[in-house]
């Protein structure tokens, strides 16, 4: 079922669910939830090493090892193109020449909406520099197309603000982005529960990236599993093609042969 494989930057994946590794209670929970989600691509942040504290502290990459998962370094927390580019280059050095990155350049702390002009600028530089760029953007179809034209490996529109859990707020824009695209489209941000994930997949999205919906659930481990199934269910429903909507009822049992 090649329809069920996700291809990003020439590499194929069985899972269409990508997960973040933040907001968990500890690394044991990060590990357990990552495994339960079935995700193969895990996004991580790049930050200063703690100097002079806990020299023996466990490292995230010990529980999410790069030989088992595809690590997707992100530029979370960057508010300028320069900071995002610098972060990607540090990530490439950290991960021994790894080219796949998640670009996000934020514009505003309250909404965490992307700064689109800075995102376009950073994407151009990173693509020229040889990175495979998965880019967080708004749900604007024209901008999504422009990011594809720049050469991004995947375009990742938000469905609602990061960490809001508000669900797919503008399904028509997501649909338009999907229909126009020649690169994978993944919903990044906004999913709150399993039905949101299924809706995004039913729209034809190639995948979903989420973090808070799992990590902030009352039972993160169970939600990781729910999300795994929701993404599979949504994908299968998309491939199956839903029935047309009708205003009035249509009996499922034959009318012929009734004895009453």
């Amino acid at each position: 079922m090649s329809d069920n494989l996700l291809t990003i930057a020439g590499k194929t994946y069985n899972s269409r669910l990508l997960v973040g590794s933040g907001k968990y209670v500890d690394l044991a929970e990060t590990k357990a939830c990552t495994e339960a989600s079935g995700a193969e691509i895990i996004t991580v942040a790049i930050r200063r090493t703690n100097i002079g504290q806990n020299p023996g502290e466990p490292n995230l990459l010990d529980v999410v090892p790069p030989d088992k998962y595809t690590i997707l370094p992100n530029t979370a927390g960057c508010y300028t193109a320069e900071d995002a580019i610098r972060t990607c280059r540090m990530a490439r050095e950290l991960l021994d020449g790894h080219k796949l990155v998640k670009l996000e350049v934020l514009g505003d702390e309250k909404t965490l909406f992307p700064d689109i002009t800075a995102t376009l600028k950073a994407a151009e530089v990173l693509v020229k520099d040889g990175f495979d760029v998965m880019v967080y953007t708004s749900d604007d179809p024209l901008i999504a197309k422009r990011l594809e034209e720049i050469g991004c490996a995947a375009v990742m529109p938000l469905a609602a603000p990061i960490g809001s859990g508000l669900g797919i707020r503008n399904p028509y824009n997501i649909l338009t982005i999907v229909e126009n695209a020649n690169v994978p489209i993944l919903v990044d941000a906004g999913v709150g529960t399993a039905s949101d994930a299924a809706i995004a997949m039913e729209l034809g999205c190639d995948g979903i990236l989420m973090n808070t919906a799992i990590a902030a659930a009352k039972n993160p481990l169970l939600m990781a599993s729910a999300m795994k199934h929701a993404v599979i269910a949504g994908r299968e429903a998309f491939l199956a093609g839903r029935m047309p909507r009708k205003r009035f009822a249509s009996a499922s049992s034959p009318i012929d042969g009734t004895f009453f």
Partner: protein, 93 residues
């Protein structure tokens, strides 16, 4: 001599190499990346790279994060827009 390591001043013997600095911080063998004065110094050059007085060194690693995770010290944020006040969960171990 004095260098700035991850934003804090640090006294270091003259002509110390980058590798020496990494060893002195108990970071030997850890998966990390190093910048000196905004320039990435590849792992293969750590042993030969000699630090100078006033060098600004950033040592980074991967931590848990999804989107816009502001926890931890973001080496790239010079502007002070976000204060790294919330330590990431790895700090508590």
């Amino acid at each position: 001599m004095k260098i700035i390591l991850n934003g804090n001043a640090l006294d270091l013997a003259d002509n110390s190499t980058l590798l020496k600095l990494i060893e002195s911080q108990d970071l030997t063998g850890k998966r990390l990346a190093v910048e000196v004065n905004l320039e990435i110094i590849p792992k293969t050059e750590h042993a030969s790279y000699i630090l100078k007085n006033d060098d600004k060194v950033e040592i980074v690693h991967a931590i848990g994060g999804g989107s816009a995770n502001n926890s931890g010290s973001n080496f790239a944020l010079n502007s002070g827009i976000i204060s790294p006040s919330v330590n990431n969960h790895l700090d508590k171990s």
